[in-house]
Symmetry: C2
Amino acid sequence: MTMPRGARGLFAPERVAVVGATEREGSIGRAIMENLESFAGDVVPINPKRDEVFGIAAYSDIGAVPDPVDMAVVVVPPHIAVDAVRNLAENGVKNVVVITAGFGETGSEGAAREHELQEIASEYDLNLVGPNSLGVMSTPVDMNGSFGPEDALPGSMSFMSQSGAFITAVLDWANDQDIGFKDIVSLGNKAVLDETDFIEIWNEDGDTDVILGYLEGIENGREFIDTARDVTEDTPIVLVKSGRTDAGAQAASSHTGTIAGSERAYEAGLDQAGVLRAENVEELFDYARILDGQPVPDGDDVAVITNAGGPGVMATDAIGDSDLNMASFTEETVERLGETMPDEANIYNPVDVIGDADNERFKKALDIVLEDENVSSAVVISCPTAVIEYEGLADDIAEVQQKHGNPVVASLMGGERVEVPADTLRDHGIPNYFDPARAVRSLDALATYRDITELDYEPPIEFDVDRDRAEEILRSVENRDTNRLGVEAMELLDAYGIPTPAGDIVDTPTKAREVAEGIDGGVVMKIVSPDILHKSDIGGVKVGVEDEDVEDAFEDLVTRARNYQPDATILGVQVQEMVDLDSGTETILGMNRDPQFGPLMLFGLGGIFVEILEDTTVRVAPVSERESEEMIDEIQSAPLLRGARGRDPVDEDAVVESVQRLSQLVTDFPAILELDINPLVATPDGVQAVDIRLTVDPDQL
Amino acid sequence: MTMPRGARGLFAPERVAVVGATEREGSIGRAIMENLESFAGDVVPINPKRDEVFGIAAYSDIGAVPDPVDMAVVVVPPHIAVDAVRNLAENGVKNVVVITAGFGETGSEGAAREHELQEIASEYDLNLVGPNSLGVMSTPVDMNGSFGPEDALPGSMSFMSQSGAFITAVLDWANDQDIGFKDIVSLGNKAVLDETDFIEIWNEDGDTDVILGYLEGIENGREFIDTARDVTEDTPIVLVKSGRTDAGAQAASSHTGTIAGSERAYEAGLDQAGVLRAENVEELFDYARILDGQPVPDGDDVAVITNAGGPGVMATDAIGDSDLNMASFTEETVERLGETMPDEANIYNPVDVIGDADNERFKKALDIVLEDENVSSAVVISCPTAVIEYEGLADDIAEVQQKHGNPVVASLMGGERVEVPADTLRDHGIPNYFDPARAVRSLDALATYRDITELDYEPPIEFDVDRDRAEEILRSVENRDTNRLGVEAMELLDAYGIPTPAGDIVDTPTKAREVAEGIDGGVVMKIVSPDILHKSDIGGVKVGVEDEDVEDAFEDLVTRARNYQPDATILGVQVQEMVDLDSGTETILGMNRDPQFGPLMLFGLGGIFVEILEDTTVRVAPVSERESEEMIDEIQSAPLLRGARGRDPVDEDAVVESVQRLSQLVTDFPAILELDINPLVATPDGVQAVDIRLTVDPDQL
């Protein structure tokens, strides 16, 4: 849903009401009151049975509160929570956090209650979090409006989670690691505000530098993509989207009632949204911390400085695994290192300052390589030795990093001796990991974010199409028993400018011959019937039919169809220009609808490439020209389109254009539930869509 | 090399000499003496300039020591180290650790010194570690024979590392994490003892339960495979082999002078050896710890118990990513959980005991699921709540794990509050991770190790072959200018029982016709010349030649070849039975030699599958029947051999047999440096090798 204005009041209220405030031991109402004790603003307990709660004057009803309340936390039982929210709304409270559980997650009665909440929120323009939420926190105003056991430390990352318990676990751990947050929200059932709203809120919030989240589903994929693209220009978004696997999706569904969209749609959608997707908790915070602490690199070339060869090799391997490269130093750098380092040192990348290096040598080496214009970032690795002193080294690394402004990650290896130096590094935004590979992966995420910020999200091209004609063809399904269309809908493609072979569907042998005579050379003839899906299997396709044989072929095709299925609806026979499959490559272009992301385009080469090698790629439509090009680039068999094995390259632009035109068609008509062009034959001279199948929902026309 | 008997004296000596012992500040000789202070046996300083070192009587020379010395650590400078080692050997010391650097790693002079060391070791049957080693440690005798800054804690993992600095880093960290070791060895330059020797030593050592290592190369791949297969029956081996990527291999090579074998060979070889390969340091210790602490699971079905839905989904995703499955509970289990858990709980896997679960409920749930015969292992996840008490939970988990004997991993999430409970779990061998995914990955490694122990390494089948004939054909290369052979060597395949089409190579048109007349139908004719590699390009191949046209075709082929290259050696024309490529599938079967692992077999489908999709698989030869079958299974395009797209399945047994027969050939003849059968055509009726190319080193015949 679209976020109502002023939603920031959720995180920076002046006066917070607690509906259901109490002192009763073990109750959530008490936990909230205790957590709000340090709140910088006013707390207003609402409880008809009490005059005060923890010494603060309580009111029987929100209507009785003399001063305006910005935000309310609702903890009363589910059967009265809806009325409580209505009452808040009627009294002008715009921001409501419903902690109470027992809504959509519990069955039909709960779902009805949740629907009521949505209606109230819509009527009164409420910013409503939850229900079934752990609450919200915001450190600048010292607000802990949750019933979790821990306060958050101040910081510049804002965190949303579809699992409240996960917030408690993360906070416990983060506090131990000195990791701070700006805002935290437990999304609960997302009856009203969802992930899209919060990335929008935090985008407008100058104090949030990184957005991170744990999600089990995304409510409205397309809206999320469009919003996130805007957000990630300035603020990186790092998400764990769980339920990635079939087993996980099933578990997520039973946990939150999220309808499972396909993982492929999420993968494509989150990528198109510019989100950095973390696979697990460790990656989530590794990525978030480096994004929070370090500038993005201006290139992908990494220098490695180490006092030990082995870990240097490990870092180099990790760089080989990533999208980063080992920097190649300028002659000047090699010379300067040669002058400064001992003879046994390796002055090429990875730089090995060797085991007897003291802090000074380390610092000097880092300074020299960061000076190099060929170096965009650095990984500093150290094993404990008698001469290296980690605390000083941490200061040196921070100092040199700040001097040059390139991102630096560290792997000062060891146990206890690393604790204080790691704190020093963290204070300067430099992550430190025992494992050099993990340090490199963080740097890789930083470079990926740089790529995201540099993306230009140009709008999809709007081709000049015949939309009315397309609608007319789609409407033909209204007269059918089935909602499927086949070759009889080829003109749909013509209407949207996707080339099809010359030809027509005819209902008499004479007309068939007329069509064939208008086409050079032999023709292909196919029976057209919504009831016969596998035409070839029943001999319903004839190839290379000469003009004089067309009439006989017509009769024969119809007879075969009748024999196969006497009651089949026969729409006629398609007479089509032969497509030269020898000089062409068969591709498949299709679309189906994902419950979260909507139209999902698929592209791949035909035959074994789709069926056996599963070499396909997907994108959420509408797709831009760049996204369409990426689809062709991404398939493994792309070289076959590009002149591999001595063939002429196909007209790739024509393929790219077809992808975009189909994208426009399926975006224009949500009634098209599924569509496959198979094959779309690509040749050096263009493309031709030879066959089509689609499913239409006439109610959406 | 083969490990000399008694090498265990390295780790359990009674009397250790330190050659170069001194009290000089900052010296390695002093560091060793200090580290050996706690040694349970006797330390004997050797230093001609001192009467005593740290109050222990010193000797001028090993010959002067009255009692026998088991082991000596050598730290004297490189130019006298070789003589020192010889002196030790002459005086009956069998175990020598050469700390001194300045050998093979520093150029030709050092390499010569290293060669001398090898000769002495060979002459006197020395167990020699190093040179350029950090030293050795063994905790049962409190021996720290290294110059590293830390002692190891006692434990049952033994660790070898090709990087000494990495040992210091690991020890510093491990001590902090309470991780102990039995033996540690810094391999140094591996002049004598290498990784194969140490896995053998530790296999015989009852106190080593897990072997772990950091390697940048393996000296003798085949020997390592054969030894490791034996070792891993009882003792798991976990290795980081760095230099995995091109960049990493280059860095490793400049670090240790290791000649880079191909990563594909390492991947195949370590897999065939039954080694668990870790990608990075974190995985190395994660895998090692669970292997050390938990029994292997008797199946792959995992139960997840959690008090929070979100982290339960994360664990489920990780199981989906792994080779493990979510266990499906018996009805009885579901019933018992139903009776014991509250209504809101999820009693199917992942079991959610929900946020208000106390320790008792958690314990009960774990006990019930581990009772289930469908459950092989469990992951226990907890977020901090007001009612859960982690310390007690850790005890409960350990108790229930011990009761049932199934492996259990934990993810008690949080910060400081987890420290003590994690110690408790560790004391019971149960790893605990903040990230549930990491817990699952460890469990996955444990199951993989179980699979390894269950493998039956049957020897390669020995086919009845004509080895003399093969040798004769290979010797034909001795009369050539080049060391390449082509179709003229087809009989090599016949000699080893790999079917080839009927035919012969002839040198006159008349003979060509004679051969053709003996073959049904048309024939294929090809020019045979070691100087013409791409026969088709010059029109040097004719297909479907009828008997009456054979003579003309002969003349034409020879003319074309002469025109193309007047001075080309023309061995004749091959007249070959036509192979039905329509009913067949072209495959490629090849071999090249890896510097570490020797003959590396390659299999894949021909054409685009090899050239564009790079869909091939490799194994170190000789291969067993099972390994040959795996090669076919592993390629992505395997379904094309098995009747995909309506074709008849090929005779897969014949393909598997050809792989084994070629394996036997290349194992029998190390002189074959490279060999390609391309194509090996597989049909429903068998296989036929249509073309062959090989490179032979006549000096190895």
